[in-house]
């Protein structure tokens, strides 16, 4: 039996959901007290309270953005997001099948749905549907931002180009921001890397894990691993923090032993492979811009990279955009409130926000007030 929450309260300070409510039941410790008795790792069957079964607790327990900050703060390194996933997996619901369908098969339809949503004026939609409508609109690929900086491999760049690289694009880039993948590949080629074909990868499986749809997650993981093996185990360049977070977990499962170690060594943020860049700012570069740090980087290497090639970065003081997990599906209002709080965490002069996660880009685009743009940093970089 694993030891559960000690109720030390360290998670309150870092939890973006708690920050919205200032109520202990919304903090990870509150959710763990409800979820642990439902999980065999933490509790014996006879300890279950029928008044606190999944049906009674789910409204409260699933208010989690899956950001993982509580796990970092926890002395026992307990992950509330993982616990919630496990309990969801034990209690299947039809919405999980819809979500699986949406991610696995409906990706090609996302741009059209976004276009359709853009035709609906905000005031027509009932208030409760507006966050979802905004999210759908954010899927539209405007692709009209002029790059701020031209980068090239510097003469003193110390990078090892002997091992080929494959770009992991993730669902967002694959379906609604294809220019990110293309740009990442072009940058890598300009640095001298041999770039392998990305098309055999599918979703990282992270969102399936959060939703507790483990069979689909395993299928996706297997497919990605097979593609990597088929390419001769190249380095994997990732430009989305959430994809990186999910892919990093493959080293714990399903991979093991030497291959897990090899996977771990191969997986890296794109920015690490672009070390030693020489940068020339364009007239379009704003003097100051905001940077939203995604929760899912264990160590964010993109921010120092950006600081080097694009001076003027100001990190926002919001703690999570609310896109992680499937909060946007289970509680779109809360998810949107979190995004709004994030947007308020930038200095007023920052009219352009950059980030390094596909999900954060879409979420903050949906919440951005008129006149403020949100982009992945790949949008503002060119060769």
């Amino acid at each position: 039996m694993k030891r559960g929450c000690t109720q030390c309260g360290e998670c309150l300070n870092v939890c973006p959901v708690y920050r919205q409510f200032s109520r202990e039941e919304y903090a990870p410790k509150g959710k763990r007290l409800l979820l642990e008795p439902l999980h065999e790792d933490f509790s014996a069957a006879h300890e279950k309270d029928p008044e606190l079964d999944w049906e009674h607790i789910k409204e409260l327990a699933r208010l989690c953005a899956g950001c993982g900050k509580c796990q970092q703060a926890c002395a026992r390194k307990l992950s509330t997001a993982d616990l919630l996933s496990d309990v969801r997996a034990q209690h299947p619901h039809w919405t999980q099948h819809f979500w699986s369908l949406w991610i696995k098969h409906m990706g090609p339809m996302w741009p059209s749905l976004g276009m359709l949503a853009s035709l609906v004026p905000g005031w027509v939609a009932p208030k409760g549907l507006r966050p979802s409508l905004d999210s759908a609109k954010a899927m539209v690929n405007k692709h009209n931002l002029k790059p701020w900086v031209t980068i090239s491999k510097g003469a003193s760049a110390d990078v090892d180009v002997s091992t080929p690289v494959v770009v992991f694009q993730g669902c967002t880039a694959k379906n609604i921001r294809p220019q990110w993948t293309e740009k990442a590949q072009n940058l890598l080629r300009a640095w001298g890397y041999e770039v392998k074909d990305s098309s055999g990868f599918n979703c990282c499986g992270g969102t399936m894990h959060t939703a507790g749809i483990y069979d689909t997650m395993h299928e996706m993981q297997q497919k990605n691993i097979e593609h990597w093996r088929a390419l001769g185990r190249p380095r994997i360049a990732v430009f989305c923090a959430s994809c990186h977070h999910a892919l990093a977990d493959y080293a714990n499962s399903p991979l093991s032993g030497q291959e897990a170690e090899q996977w771990k060594q191969s997986l890296m943020p794109l920015s690490r492979l672009l070390k030693g860049a020489e940068a020339h700012s364009a007239a379009e570069k704003p003097e100051l811009y905001g940077y939203h740090q995604p929760c899912h980087w264990k160590t964010d290497e993109d921010m120092p990279f950006l600081q080097e090639i694009l001076p003027g970065l100001v990190k926002g003081n919001g703690i999570c955009c609310g896109m992680g997990g499937i909060l946007q599906i289970t509680n779109p209002d809360l998810s949107r409130n979190m995004a709004d709080s994030c947007m308020q965490g930038f200095p007023r002069q920052a009219r352009n926000i950059l980030t390094s996660c596909s999900g954060c880009t879409i979420q903050l685009t949906a919440a951005a007030p008129e006149g403020i743009t949100v982009n992945h940093w790949l949008d503002v970089v060119t060769l």
């Binding site: 039996m1 030891r3 000690t6 109720q7 030390c8 309260g9 360290e10 309150l12 300070n13 200032s22 109520r23 202990e24 039941e25 903090a27 410790k29 509150g30 007290l33 409800l34 008044e51 606190l52 009674h56 607790i57 409204e59 409260l60 327990a61 703060a73 002395a75 026992r76």
Partner: protein
């Protein structure tokens, strides 16, 4: 005294009308308010979360008239069951009153509501070049209100004192709904009894705090730390004595016994040689140009150390303090469950007390993890065990109780920081007349005994 054990529909209607969305009756929401970091559990009838002093007053008027038990609560981090309902009652979460009302750089006073997070207040003061020194190790998790009602201590107590030394005044709502405004914003005030001090450390037994006036001091510019290794705790504590004797007052002095060193060695990398079995960690603070001199002076005094490592400035110091911070997590190698003690003894008795605790632990087949604030005699005496092993659990409990008895022999206190809560038998420490007097004071504030009954003292 008989109290309400079940809320009627009229009770619920009153609470809903007063608190609107800030009241909960559903079992999932109430679960978290039934316990705290002590992992004990009580029965909660409802949770209310006031956002104004008027709500607190109206609630306390009603609760007193209806004989409803009230359990005030901050962030629920008490290790002694201070937030756990001892009788079925209504938990009053003060996290809805979490505004910093004023930080004055002329008065050097912060006026805050009790739900403000401790680290937030510290950070806001430091932004203005001021300093709120009380620094409980759990400050990231705690609220200021919780710190005040437990008189939280912390690492810097040796130089700066504890929470009580920084509370100049407070507003408190007592049973019946009366609002008392005690003390104020002045650094000196000798008129009448010091009622503010009654509130500090009162463990929520006298009233509900709604506002606090806290003393601030200028922020020290710089700090430096020194981690020092010895062959034994005996050698370490004897060396520490030389520092104080030389007239040096560090801002923190932490000690770690031989068992702590053992678990640190088992669980990670360490820079000291294997001959080191006990550590002291000093910190000095002050002006930028005097701190290097002060740390050098301190270092010179401890000429009998086997090993030392110095850190100047936050980054370098962080590495040194990282070893101290690792202790808690590393302790779990001795067992997945923990009982923590936080006894305090006069500084000169630390070694005797720790050795006595260790021998009690050994007699019961346990190992004692002893570390803490050497500068102020506060010992964290932790025992790890496996709760699923009844024999281990029993031996651990026995050791814990025996240590409580032993600490009194050294002129110590059962608790230096966590408070009595509902875990400590305070009658062991308090004289009969003294205890009776305390209970009389308590009944003056709370004649019907609705506030945290059977808790504290």
């Amino acid at each position: 005294m008989s109290y309400v054990t079940k809320l009627t529909s009229a009770h619920r209607a009153f609470l809903e009308d007063l608190f609107k969305e800030n009241v909960s009756f559903d079992k999932p929401s109430l679960r978290v308010y039934a316990s705290d970091a002590s992992n004990m559990k009580g029965e909660v009838l409802a949770m209310v979360r006031p956002t104004s002093v008027e709500q607190v007053q109206e609630f306390m008027r009603w609760a007193d008239a209806e004989r409803v038990v009230v359990h005030p609560r901050g962030r629920g981090t008490s290790l002694s069951g201070g937030c756990v309902p001892t009788l079925p009652g209504i938990v009053v979460s003060m996290l809805g009153m979490d505004r910093i009302l004023d930080i004055s750089d002329t008065d050097f006073v912060a006026t805050v509501e009790p739900g403000v997070g401790t680290t937030l207040l510290q950070a806001e003061c430091e932004k203005r070049n001021m300093f709120y020194p009380p620094d409980p190790a759990s400050s990231k998790a705690t609220s200021i209100g919780g710190n005040v009602v437990t008189c939280a201590g912390g690492l810097r107590a040796v130089k700066y004192g504890v929470t009580r030394d920084y509370v100049l005044g407070c507003d408190v709502v007592i049973p019946g709904g009366k609002l008392l405004q005690l003390g104020g914003r002045t650094q000196k005030d000798v008129i009448g009894l010091d009622m503010t001090r009654f509130m500090v450390g009162s463990e929520g037994t006298l009233g509900i705090l709604t506002k606090l006036h806290l003393k601030l001091i200028p922020k020290p510019d710089a700090s430096a730390s020194l981690l020092v290794g010895y062959s034994s705790l005996d050698a370490a504590l004897s060396s520490m004595g030389k520092v104080f004797a030389a007239g040096i007052l560090p801002s923190a002095v932490e000690f770690m016994n031989e068992t702590v060193l053992d678990i640190l060695k088992q669980t990670g990398e360490y820079p000291w040689p294997d001959t080191v079995n006990s550590l002291l960690l000093f910190q000095v603070d002050g002006a930028e140009d005097t701190v290097p001199l002060e740390i050098a002076r301190l270092s010179k005094q401890i000429d009998d150390a086997l090993w030392r490592m110095q850190g100047v400035g936050k980054e370098e110091e962080n590495e040194l303090w990282g070893y101290r911070r690792r202790v808690s997590a590393a302790s779990y190698v001795l067992g997945p469950d923990r009982i923590g003690g936080d006894m305090a003894v006069p500084r000169g008795q630390i070694l005797n007390a720790v050795r006595r605790f260790e021998s009690l632990a050994e007699k019961n087949g346990k190992r004692l993890i002893a570390f803490g604030h050497a500068g102020d005699g506060n010992i964290h005496a932790n025992l790890h065990y496996d709760a699923s092993d009844p024999d281990d659990a029993e031996r651990t409990q026995k050791t814990h109780h025996e240590m409580d008895a032993a600490v009194l022999e050294f002129g110590g206190s059962l608790s230096g920081e966590h408070g009595g809560g509902c875990l400590k038998d305070v009658g062991r420490q308090l004289g009969e007349d003294e205890h009776e007097m305390m209970l009389k004071v308590r009944s003056l504030f709370d004649p019907n005994g609705i506030l945290n009954p059977k808790k504290g003292y």
